[in-house]
């Protein structure tokens, strides 16, 4: 009898902690955050965050959800996020942040590492968020603009950037954990992040992806235009699509359009004790998508001419981008350091101290090889 009594008491006792935990949050009590824009307030030097949240109450799918902007200010990012609660009835739920938009002033002056720390350290935020640099005056303007397709800018941006590699190949696909890998790693590869700006589309201000931003360590050095980024992607072997236009010969304008279907870039290097020489072997499979003048494609000479013109265009433009990265930005833009580190760590520890010198003086040889597999429906 006593045993039964004790058992019953114990069972009830165990049920109490089993019934739920302190951290239960109902969906209607949270505001789901999709994007964060980080600015610095010049007057009091605080971080000014603009947070885009989805209003779930009005939606069945996110496509019809409305987005809302909330601002928060604080001395650190975490404080600013919490301070936004002072004007919000619901707590912010940051587990779905898709983009982190950083103003170019922060990126230039103090670097982005301090701003990104919270996004990696906090258990709720996701490491798959995409850090993006705003080319406008503030990062807030990006979120305040409207999107062409939908109303939620962060989601739009995320979808544009993620599908970019196969379609337009004009920006870089990167997540915040990869950003951290590059920033914390000792290999001194230049960090490259997507850059965003506002343009007008049918008299509305919309957000557009505009090439990439190049960093040295974690400070912004400059931008690569979408076209330059296209060739940069060739150099780092991250291209899987996109259109390349080039002229047939020097006098013509760009009049041939190649659609890239596959690309493989092999990097190799040779070091003879003094000079570093880097070779890029680029083999591209492409389809001729548009020809703006009269030419008989099936004639063998013409195909050869087009191939040579394509090779030449690639060669010149990729070399130009690499040159810009090395000379203008003075950074290892396409990962030579990483390559040396991974294949010959002893050599890397030797070169690493004067890496800037080697960047400036290394010779780069680009060897493109384009194969045109078809020319569409017409000859």
């Amino acid at each position: 009898m006593i045993k039964r009594l004790i058992s019953i008491v114990l069972i009830i006792g165990i049920c109490i902690p089993l019934s739920g935990c302190w951290n239960y949050r109902g969906l209607n009590k949270v505001s789901i955050v999709t994007g964060v824009a980080i600015d610095r307030n010049t007057e009091n030097n605080n971080y000014q965050l603009t947070i885009e949240t989805i209003d779930v109450s009005g939606a069945g799918k996110e496509g019809t959800g409305k987005s809302q902007l909330v601002e928060g200010e604080g001395k650190t990012i975490f404080e600013a996020v919490r301070n936004a609660k002072k004007r919000l009835s619901k707590k912010l739920y940051v587990s779905d942040v898709k983009v982190i938009i950083i103003s170019n002033q922060i990126a230039r002056q103090e670097g982005i590492k301090p701003s990104l720390d919270w996004f990696v350290r906090d258990a709720e935020t996701r490491e798959t968020a995409i850090p993006v640099i705003s080319q406008e005056k503030t990062a807030k303007e990006i979120l305040a603009a409207s999107g062409v397709d939908g109303k939620i800018i962060s989601e739009e941006l995320e979808k544009i950037i993620n599908s970019d590699r196969e379609i337009t190949a004009s920006t870089k696909k990167i997540a915040s954990y990869q950003t951290f890998d590059i920033l914390l790693g000792g290999e001194k590869t230049a960090l490259v992040l997507p850059a965003v700006h506002c343009t007008s589309n049918k008299d509305k201000k919309v957000v557009e992806v505009n090439g990439t931003a190049v960093f040295k360590e974690d400070k912004l050095q400059g931008y690569l235009s979408p076209e330059e980024t296209h060739y940069y992607l060739f150099a780092v072997d991250e291209i899987a699509g996109g259109i390349t236009t080039f002229p047939l010969n020097k006098e013509n304008q760009d009049s041939l359009a190649l659609e890239i279907s596959k690309n493989k870039t092999k990097k190799s290097y040779s070091y003879d004790g003094n000079r570093l020489k880097v070779f890029l072997d680029i083999s591209t499979t492409a389809m001729l998508g548009e020809v703006n003048f009269d030419i008989d494609i099936l004639k063998k000479n013409n195909i050869e001419e087009i191939k040579l013109a394509a090779n030449l265009a690639f060669l010149q433009r990729i070399e130009a981008v690499i040159q810009k990265g090395r000379m203008e930005f003075n950074c290892d833009i396409f990962g030579v350091g990483t390559m040396i580190h991974k294949s010959d760590p002893v050599l890397w520890s030797k070169l690493k101290e004067n890496w800037d010198y080697y960047i400036q003086t290394m010779e780069v040889e680009v060897r493109p090889e384009v194969v045109i597999v078809n020319t569409g429906l017409t000859k």
Binding site: W22, Q178, D181, K342, S343
Partner: protein, 360 residues
């Protein structure tokens, strides 16, 4: 108490789950970056030597556990001291494991939920298995390990999209000395803990092969730990693995298939729980047996009832933060030397002498 026998397979599974206990949560990269898997394999090699010694002790005294062996070889007084030391080791180990597990839950999933109720619940589960006896634990292990491995396989397959093989290069970047000292750390924190299984050895049937049990157990768990580690490194990259407290969890967070299959990292959390409970249960079993031997009592329930709050006390008081807990491993590798090495060596040498004298 009635002695219960366990099959070889159950014992192997128990050893594997025990070895997963805290290593799968913490990760094994002690500052080695991408070479940690080499240290793991080295630890396996060194651990196998230890295992041979442990298994030899079991072979020399079949169907007797460590406590009985100690008393037979060294007599009542020293035997009791050895029993006391091993029991203390089991108690301390279970305190550390339960602290680690509840810290993980607190940091990752439920920051505001108080830790003590969580730990109490874990003890209720582990204590119940202990109370039911080692046969129950064996049968549970037969079910729990395949489940664990299945979940692991699931995560592996899903993360193939994010894998970059070049992340494990360059191989052998670190000096042999660094790798060697890290492998000693791994050896002591994981493989060496299996010395506790000597106290459960009276459940191994006389005709079973203890060498097979130990070596299979070590091998399976080492291979799995290497796979877990390689997955974390190849998905996350070296700097992120070094910086995260729980790298395999962080790696699982990145899984995002077709935009709808994401946020499945909770499944890793479940895995941790499984392995953690296994380890705690085994430590509890060892401790309860030891105290029973020390005070000549067979009242398992009562011992458990007093032991669990005691372990809770230790785990809450010993470390004030996660950082202290993780830094403790630096001390731990020296602290366990008597338990994992010295006492077994004494027992082994004593056993060989004793058996040698008997056969003459």
């Amino acid at each position: 108490m009635q002695r219960e026998m366990i099959s070889t397979r159950q014992f192997i599974y128990m050893i594997v789950l025990f070895l997963f206990g805290s290593s799968a949560v913490q990760g094994v990269s002690w500052g080695l970056g991408q070479d940690a898997w080499i240290a793991l394999l080295l630890a396996l090699a060194l651990g196998s030597i230890l295992a041979l010694m442990y298994a030899r002790i079991i072979k020399l005294f079949p169907e007797m556990n460590l406590y009985d062996v100690a008393e037979v070889i060294f007599g009542k007084i020293i035997g009791k001291i050895i029993i006391g030391l091993m029991t203390w080791y089991a108690i301390h180990l279970s305190a550390i494991v339960i602290r680690l597990l509840s810290e993980f839950v607190k940091i990752v999933t439920m920051p505001e939920t108080p830790q003590l109720p969580m730990m109490i619940l874990l003890f209720v589960a582990a204590g119940y298995i202990t109370f039911s006896g080692i046969a129950t634990l064996g049968k549970w292990a037969l079910f729990a390990l395949p489940l664990y491995l299945l979940i692991l396989l699931y995560i592996l397959i899903l993360s193939t999209a994010e894998i970059k093989f070049s992340n494990i290069l360059p191989i052998m970047e670190h000096s042999v000395i660094t790798i060697g000292s890290a492998s000693i750390k791994i050896l002591t924190t994981t493989f060496g803990g299996t010395v506790l299984f000597l106290t459960l050895a009276d459940s191994i049937k006389k005709n079973d092969n203890p060498y097979k049990i130990y070596l299979y157990g070590f091998f399976i768990s080492a291979v799995t730990l290497v796979v877990i580690f390689l997955q974390s490194i190849m998905v996350l990259g070296v700097p992120m693995v070094e910086k995260s407290y729980f790298p395999s969890y962080t790696a699982a967070r990145l899984i995002n298939i077709g935009d709808f299959l994401s946020r499945i990292e909770m499944i890793i959390f479940y895995n941790f729980l499984l392995a953690g409970i296994a380890k705690i249960t085994i430590c509890l079993l060892v401790a309860v047996k030891g105290i029973g031997k020390l005070f000549n009592s067979t009242k398992q329930g009562l011992i458990l009832f007093i032991l669990c709050p005691f372990i809770l006390l230790i785990s809450t008081l010993e470390f004030s933060s996660v950082m202290e807990l993780l830094n403790f491993t630096d001390v731990f590798q020296y602290y366990i030397l008597p338990f994992q090495v010295i006492i077994p060596i004494m027992l082994w040498v004593g056993a060989e002498i004793k058996i040698g004298a008997k056969s003459r």
